[in-house]
Symmetry: C2
Subunit: 188 residues, 2 copies
């Protein structure tokens, strides 16, 4: 499974691509940063980000995209641009028919270090170990994107199991409902 992790942003958008399967250590394929100049109009910046994302999808053909979930409590001065950039990521991934998941920073920290409150250095150390790197991913702005991709690779089977369980529950619920209605009809 190949996962594209995205740390969304307008000025700097972190991009990380990893590949891995259960039982094998994942490998880092790409760590990159997409930049757009602050003096450019927002629409142009988003269009430039969209073109870069489409290019990554065409070149690396990932199976899934993991993007950081943006919260309103984040840095207020950049929150709007970050949310707009994350929207473009969700849009491009969905249009391409990919699995697109959002993970919170604490989900990423917990998945990678076992501690949802781990600091950047601890996450970086674990990412290095997991991906067998001699140094943290460079450029530094891509490190969070790589961590997101690792988090997704590890959480994806659990998410799939939860979805499957939900489908089974819905099915069982539907069958129970059908039986109840049949009983009701017999009584009427």
């Amino acid at each position: 499974m190949r996962v594209l992790g995205i740390d969304p942003g307008l000025t700097r958008c972190g991009v990380g691509i990893i590949e891995g399967d259960s039982g094998r250590k994942p490998a880092l394929l790409l760590a990159d940063v997409v930049r757009t100049p602050a003096e450019m109009e927002t629409g142009q910046r988003l269009a430039s980000l969209e073109r870069s994302l489409v290019q990554y999808l065409a070149e690396y053909r990932p199976d899934a995209i993991a993007v950081e979930r943006v919260f309103a409590r984040r840095d207020v001065s950049t929150i709007i641009g970050t949310a707009q950039a994350s929207g473009v990521v969700l849009l491009v991934g969905t249009r391409a028919g990919l699995q697109v998941a959002q993970h919170t920073p604490s989900e990423v920290k917990a998945a990678i270090t076992g501690n949802g409150r781990a600091d950047k250095a601890q996450v970086g150390q674990m990412v290095m170990r997991i991906l067998k790197l001699e140094a943290p991913p460079r450029p530094a702005d891509a490190a969070d994107a790589v961590a997101l991709a690792v988090c997704h690779l590890w959480r994806a089977p659990a998410i799939a199991r939860i979805n499957e369980a939900q489908v089974r529950r819905d099915l069982a619920m539907g069958q129970a409902l059908a039986r109840a209605r049949a009983a009701q009809r017999r009584l009427a």
Copy 2:
């Protein structure tokens, strides 16, 4: 000039299209609302909004798009979705090569009523008068989008003049700089 006004949102996105020229009263061509269900995944909602916008552009061929500028101080629970929706509007408009402008709510109120702190009812009354409507635009969620379009139609010439003045200033600055450098070279 035909202007598409957008009041961005994921659950309800207001759409208003007007047409007008200097000297003529503008006419309302469309007031509509694009809805996406809250239980749908964000990427799907954004993709659905994108398709609707592309359709409006194809059908109405506006010359410009005016979208409400989203601020971090707005309702925190919906701010991320609103920002993502506004990003898709900016993206689609820019990709189509259109003039895309962002106006703040107080710019819209000031342009329409002369008072940046006018309430919804005052803006609605003025929009009715300007567009010669017998009732406020319906659906109600589209009223803000129509007001944005009117604001843009009226502010567009001023914005064009400001841009032109900026270009002239830049040109003059460039010429002054060239003269200064030539003088410097003569001294050296």
